[in-house]
């Protein structure tokens, strides 16, 4: 019974969002809204695309998220390998920094970044945002990947070496395949984080045609909080779908075990 209450609390806002997205304006204006739209319609989706450059925004988000996730993985995987295999002070310091860096308010980082990017003419440029996303997703990617490398027993690598495989060949043929699922999960997680990110995109992108999905969504809210509810809900729903789908794919690998493991050591 208590469990049911919890689940209702978790689910009902989302159901309401879905319901609102398919309601015609007449029902949205009525004083007695219903859970199920009486006359479901796709008009809101059409209107949303007419009102705001949603396709362009989705393309911008996709580009930023895909490129930054790929680059972050390529950069982080070697270092994660080192952190996992070396139990030195350096590895501990690096891990400590990963945790500590998450605790600083973004405002301390964004102002200097804004000034630096401005000098490089990368404010209001997609490149600048991607650069920020790469660096911003590195700590977490490092942390996740280090955990995945630790799960690969060093004995396997040693055995391959005994069989006469060189260092590189060992990595490519033994460690790589075992790491692949973890690397994919980390990449998808970085993708979702960048796809969802709001603060940096809000500060760094001014031109409407360069803005990402979350920023464009806020344009629906308009001044004074007066919002065209139907199109707003429709656009919000579309912006969420990729995140939900990808997260469902990797959910099994992203568990509280990460923090639990970190605390235990």
């Amino acid at each position: 019974m208590a469990l049911l209450c919890y689940l209702v609390f978790l689910a009902f806002p989302f159901l309401w969002l879905v319901s609102t997205a398919f309601k015609p304006p007449r029902e949205l204006g009525s004083l007695h809204p219903t859970w199920i739209p009486r006359a479901p319609t796709l008009d809101n989706f059409r209107t949303a695309f007419d009102e705001q450059p949603l396709l362009q925004a989705a393309a911008n988000s996709l580009l930023a998220a895909a490129v930054s996730a790929l680059v972050a993985i390529v950069l982080a995987t070697p270092m994660a390998y080192v952190l996992a295999r070396l139990r030195t002070r350096f590895a501990r310091a690096a891990t400590g920094w990963v945790v500590v860096s998450q605790a600083f308010p973004l405002v301390l980082v964004i102002i200097p970044l804004f000034l630096v990017l401005k000098t490089l003419h990368l404010v209001d440029a997609r490149t600048g945002l991607i650069l920020v996303y790469v660096v911003w997703s590195l700590p977490f990617a490092l942390w996740m990947l280090t955990g995945y490398v630790r799960a690969v027993p060093p004995e396997l690598e040693e055995a391959a070496a005994v069989d006469g495989a060189g260092r590189l060949r060992t990595l490519v043929s033994v460690t790589g395949p075992l790491l692949a699922p973890g690397i994919v999960a980390t990449g998808l997680f970085a993708f979702i984080t960048a796809w969802n990110e709001f603060f940096f995109a809000l500060v760094l992108l001014k031109s409407p045609e360069k803005q990402t999905m979350p920023v464009v969504l806020t344009h629906f809210l308009g001044a004074e909080g007066v919002a065209d509810l139907g199109p707003l809900a429709a656009a919000a729903l579309l912006a969420t779908l990729p995140s939900l789908l990808l997260f469902a794919v990797i959910q099994r690998r992203i568990t509280g075990g990460m923090l639990a493991g970190a605390v235990k050591n």
Binding site: L10, L17, S30, P105, L108, V135, N196, F198, T218, L246
Partner: protein, 309 residues
């Protein structure tokens, strides 16, 4: 036999990385982090002691502690800190207990686990902006499901309560959203912590006739305590520093009643161009977090305050 020696040696050699190889592997990630994360952070701390502004032509000057003395005289600053603390505590504490309850329920009821898992994806994976938009629809005075539910139950006025614009309700309304948004992560983390609970101890305690509450106090709680401490501390920090959710819900309104520290800093930096002042605000936030965290962890880890608040 003759083969064994070299093979062993090469195995040992590849088992540890040479120093140069290590740097070669670490540099691709470390250099960007140093240049674009650690560097800006130090630069940002430095900016807090200057009069940096956006779009000014004169050179930025060193002003020492002026920004901080200005901050201390700024009522908006104090207001935003109060709001930030109320919000961070108001979200973190109830959320912890709700998540702990949910984790314990799920730990017992394995049939519902898949459903809870599936539903947990929603708050966890959603962009914060969408969470904010979604709850605006829930709270909407006319077309919102909350007021409609209250009306159908015969509670609340017919014209509907404007939850997010009412001075009395706005902060409570955003806190509820904050609790909702972080529930899954806290629950899943505590569930992982519950894996550490020794089952046989539980059973032994049950055999000795210990009630559910006693079993929780003596067996479960000690096992999950480290995880519980870590997640509540992290949640507090994240909530204190959060931005997007409340920005979308209320933009700090009505009358600054939900203006979190980050919203204050954002306005100073990017609406008024006061970079130095906003950086000082960020530094003040770090100081508050550091002090609170030190007090909290030292008290908890020394094992006093066994009794949770």
């Amino acid at each position: 036999m003759a083969v064994r020696g070299p093979a062993h040696r090469s195995a040992r050699r590849s088992a540890h990385l040479s120093a140069r190889g290590t740097w070669f592997l670490v540099a691709p990630a470390l250099i960007p982090i140093l240049v674009l994360s650690v560097g800006p952070l130090l630069y940002g701390i430095g900016l807090a002691f200057t009069d940096a502004q956006s779009g000014r032509t004169e050179a930025t000057r060193w002003v020492g502690l002026l920004n901080f003395s200005d901050l201390l005289q700024d009522t908006l600053f104090w207001d935003s800190f109060r709001v930030g603390l109320v919000w961070a505590v108001g979200v973190t504490v109830p959320q912890f207990f709700l998540a702990l309850g949910l984790a314990l329920l799920l730990g017992q009821d394995l049939r519902m686990r898949w459903l809870a898992r599936a539903l947990a994806i929603i708050p966890w994976a959603m962009p914060e902006v969408v969470v904010g938009i979604m709850w605006r629809l829930v709270y909407h005075p006319d077309a919102g499901v909350l007021n409609e539910t209250l009306r159908s139950l015969g509670l609340g006025p017919d014209e509907g309560v404007d939850w997010l614009s009412g001075t009395a309700t706005a902060l409570l309304a955003v806190v509820v959203v904050g609790i909702w948004a972080g529930m899954p992560q806290t629950t899943v983390t505590l569930l992982a912590g519950l894996q550490n609970v020794p089952r046989e101890l539980h059973e032994a305690a049950a055999m000795d006739g210990a009630g559910a509450w006693r079993r929780f106090r003596t067996v479960t709680w000690p096992a999950i305590k480290p995880v519980a401490l870590a997640i509540s501390a992290l949640n507090f920090i994240w909530n204190f520093n959060s931005f997007a959710l409340v920005f979308v819900l209320t933009d700090g309104g009505p009358g600054g009643r939900t203006r979190l520290p980050m919203l204050f800093a954002y306005e100073e930096a990017f609406r008024y161009g006061q970079f130095g002042y906003a950086a000082a605000m960020g530094l003040a936030m770090v100081a508050v977090i550091a002090i609170l965290l030190a007090v909290y962890l030292s008290r908890r880890l020394r094992g006093e305050g066994e009794e949770d608040r």
